[in-house]
Symmetry: C3
Subunit: 321 residues, 3 copies
Amino acid sequence: MMVKKNIQLDAAGRLKHFLSIEGLSKTILINILDHAETFTSVGERAVKKVPLLRGKTVVNLFFEASTRTRTTFELAAKRLSADVMNINIDASATSKGESLADTLRTLEAMQADMFIVRHQDSGAPEFIARLVSAGVSVINAGDGRHAHPTQAMLDMFTIRKHKPIFENLAVAIVGDIKHSRVARSEIHALKILGVPEIRVVAPKTLIPAEIEKLGVSVHHDIQQGIKDADVVIMLRLQKERMSSALLPSGSEFFNTYGLTSKNLKAAKPDAIVMHPGPINRGIEIDSAIADSKQSLILEQVANGIAVRMAIMSLVVGNASL
Amino acid sequence: MMVKKNIQLDAAGRLKHFLSIEGLSKTILINILDHAETFTSVGERAVKKVPLLRGKTVVNLFFEASTRTRTTFELAAKRLSADVMNINIDASATSKGESLADTLRTLEAMQADMFIVRHQDSGAPEFIARLVSAGVSVINAGDGRHAHPTQAMLDMFTIRKHKPIFENLAVAIVGDIKHSRVARSEIHALKILGVPEIRVVAPKTLIPAEIEKLGVSVHHDIQQGIKDADVVIMLRLQKERMSSALLPSGSEFFNTYGLTSKNLKAAKPDAIVMHPGPINRGIEIDSAIADSKQSLILEQVANGIAVRMAIMSLVVGNASL
Amino acid sequence: MMVKKNIQLDAAGRLKHFLSIEGLSKTILINILDHAETFTSVGERAVKKVPLLRGKTVVNLFFEASTRTRTTFELAAKRLSADVMNINIDASATSKGESLADTLRTLEAMQADMFIVRHQDSGAPEFIARLVSAGVSVINAGDGRHAHPTQAMLDMFTIRKHKPIFENLAVAIVGDIKHSRVARSEIHALKILGVPEIRVVAPKTLIPAEIEKLGVSVHHDIQQGIKDADVVIMLRLQKERMSSALLPSGSEFFNTYGLTSKNLKAAKPDAIVMHPGPINRGIEIDSAIADSKQSLILEQVANGIAVRMAIMSLVVGNASL
């Protein structure tokens, strides 16, 4: 589902929802990254709190279970001093759009200021953003195969920390591109930020149709795909998302597409390795690489809190204008 | 189960628990409504918090799952700056009174200040109110078919906003009266507040025995039942509560008792339509009516936060005297 | 699993984790008890909050469900003004040590300050304490059959309130010693605090091998076991932990080892009765005793909040030095 032009932005072009990287300008993405810099120190203070969202009600509206993502948003909201409500909804109970709308309007009537939405259907957060009143913001915490834009932004933040000039980079994304909302959001973000070379690396069965139209090159050999790359992003093999016919066994996948010390030699010597987590050791990545100095996997997690704090405070600030 | 005379009130007649509308005076109900007025603005502020319950511990003790009701109480408590603990108890594990008493005493030993209790058994909140020490308050968040007094009060609050003179009103309650704790609490509240004409509208199988003794008239035809009414309250068809023999199919019910534009013409032209939610569109209410200007369904939700804040702060204030 | 010497203590001998009573000095235990005294009044104040952990993130990491223990830690943390995250992990998903390590490192990357860990495997909290960085504290909320040190400390606190001179006491622990982490931690604490006479009372099948090496005497007759005791601690019969062959029926157990008014006459007239809860009335303890003046069961619960506040604030204070 395409995000229509202006739903994320107000009339003055300011971010009021955060649903998808698509349709956002380089200026907006850079602004998020710069804003996130100011929050990285909060997590390191003795008192990890700033009062920016004090008295605001943030609702974690998760139609798809995810302790990890829910936790990062809850932590980010609490460090902004918001009140947080966690609501897990069995999607089967609200699968009809009309009933989802009623659920949403009810929560909105409770004067929530922000909905963090995770849903197994692509487009659900946008659907919700179109329903809510002015002054209420929606952040996409992952929808179907569509987008996971806060993950993409924390990855961009992590890349910039180590490789500050996007215009100089070659970035390879390796793994199940087809089913990955993370990959889709990352490709858009890298493109907008000016990364000249973006490659996706996967077996044919895990490459979505017409992916080249997004401006990426497609590779089926990992060593060729990450050759001279500055950044190697490994994706989690989402076994539960794949029909069995498409997926080789874990060890078979590792033999061909797993990131090992040997494969990684093809990338630049100072290449950084990233992964959205949780990692499957010995399936998409070798333990030695995951724990090496090149790996930024845990730094990504820490950056995720700062980036989510930045996005939350930006949209609330804009929505209340 | 009848609530015995004084359990909700202290020796000076002040509200210290809120278990049932029965046995409360008009003065107390009006006081709650007036007090709630002062909280309606809190939800509209940038900082939706007042410090009235700061440092108090509120325990949501739910023996029956209800995300919606639990959420409204949690929000109300957080906006009063209380610390909130959510405890969901599988009622089967505590079905014996003695073990419920032990659970309760243990929680009380943790110095909880208030228990919000929802239970599938009528009388459980009163049972708990009799157990707790002086200084601890219990609020009934729905017990069996007995009572749902905070829902009734938010409905009274919503009615008064639009129809300020209770003594002038005709109010019709339509739907499954028999299994509805909401209806029971509403009838008591309307009666105490001086509403001269209260009607219940349902098929014979969904009318409880001797309901007329509460001072209501019984109707089996919806157009006749809501004729010239000022307020039409639709009830949710609780399919799970009814034995199948009593209940026609959803569409059959809608044809006979559903609120449609056509039926609603029988009521006064400025009649207001209410529903405790969540609504079953096309079963008890037509979508066009639910979304019309006459419908106050979402306003009820917003009022529910203010009314619960009022009740919580009143009982805590009185309990600490 | 033995706790190696220094993991709980920093180089200066200060408590930075709280994993096990073993290996701690009398000075440290007394310091915890004294510190807890200052927190008992917090729960009785109108505003039950102190700002000691404001802006700190406390993660309740429960691999084994326990509403009761989780609630006490959550309350203690909130009364210290910390932000609390509850994370329940299905242990089957993280049963491999490596994956537990990844989960932990991820949570730590979110800048948690403290992990409260409950796990069905003995040694899991220590394993986690060895993984976390300097500045992060781990508290054991019960691991396998190994230890439940905060329960032991709240019991010591409760004993000292009523029987101030540990050196004068005879303490009997009655029930399923073999499967009880509570008993193990209590025995260590009593020993360190100088209690001269510690007895365990149980059928042979519920006495662990070589328990005498801990410095306790073993009794198979309850009247003999609690004779002239100052303190009688009853254990909960953990039916789910025991293979059926070891366990007589509940009523059979009660007849032989249950604490009744008749049995209790064997103890000193002013003996106190304790139980970690939740109690099984009519199995390990008679209702009349549980509700008598000699019973301190509910006082233990209240003391548990104060003792946990003390331990949490001590380890956080030391970890940040």
